[in-house]
């Protein structure tokens, strides 16, 4: 999975809305369109981009396709945040140390 694809996929406000809706629970494309002013072909296109980025996966259920958030796709984002949530406090502690040593 290419991480840039994830950020590109989520940079679009409509796709972000779709993704956030799916984050609350999986559903099929027509249920997904409810409340969103978006045509069926446009929805297919957005879902295709989200799927391509590894953020959403589909599961065929009889005549319908159910879409849901793919937890693996979120891993890259979570890893980035986790890394730097730990990184900055250490850096800032080092900055505090430096400020103590510096002359006024």
């Amino acid at each position: 999975m290419v991480e840039n694809d994830i950020f590109k996929a989520l940079a679009d406000p409509t796709r972000r809305a779709i993704f956030e809706k799916l984050a609350a629970g999986g559903m099929n494309a027509s249920a997904l369109r409810e409340g969103l002013a978006i045509s069926q072909p446009a929805m297919s296109q957005h879902l295709s981009v989200l799927r391509g980025a590894g953020l959403v996966r589909e599961e065929r259920q009889g005549r319908f396709v159910r879409y849901e958030v793919d937890p693996q796709g979120l891993t890259a984002i979570a890893q980035w945040l986790a890394k730097y949530r730990a990184y900055w406090p250490r850096r800032i502690e080092a900055l505090r140390g430096l400020l103590k040593e510096m002359d006024q």
Binding site: E3, A23, R91, A94, L99, Q104
Partner: protein
């Protein structure tokens, strides 16, 4: 405090710190390469020279990881005096936009990404 530049990026990391030193001193520590190196190593930066957004108030470093996947990002430091003679430091860390371009103008009022899962 403003997080204008963060808009449009998927989910910037925003952190606030209080430092027990006046803003002028903090500015030197974050802007002068010799001092910056003591707490923010150049190995983590794509460019050791800061981009000064507002002298004495805000600057930005472009960052690049020194190991795979070599992710690019940009960190903005904003400083201001606090009531006690110290400094408030606001850290906004954003991933690079696709294509490697880092965040300049914001043109989106999109809500921040929901924390899913």
């Amino acid at each position: 405090m403003s997080a204008d530049e963060a808009e449009g990026a998927p989910e910037p990391l925003v952190l606030d710190y209080r430092l027990d030193a006046p803003p002028e001193k903090v500015w030197r520590a974050i802007s002068m390469p010799g001092l910056r190196e003591a707490w923010l190593p150049g190995a983590d930066l794509a460019d050791p020279e800061p981009i000064v957004l507002a002298p004495g108030e805000a600057l930005r470093y472009r960052m690049r990881e020194d190991e795979p996947p070599f992710r690019k990002s940009a960190v903005t430091f904003r400083i201001s005096a606090d009531e006690a003679g110290g400094t408030r430091l606001n850290v906004i860390h954003e991933r690079a936009r696709p294509g490697g371009r880092t965040i300049m103008a914001a043109n989106s009022n999109a809500p921040p990404l929901l924390r899913a899962a």
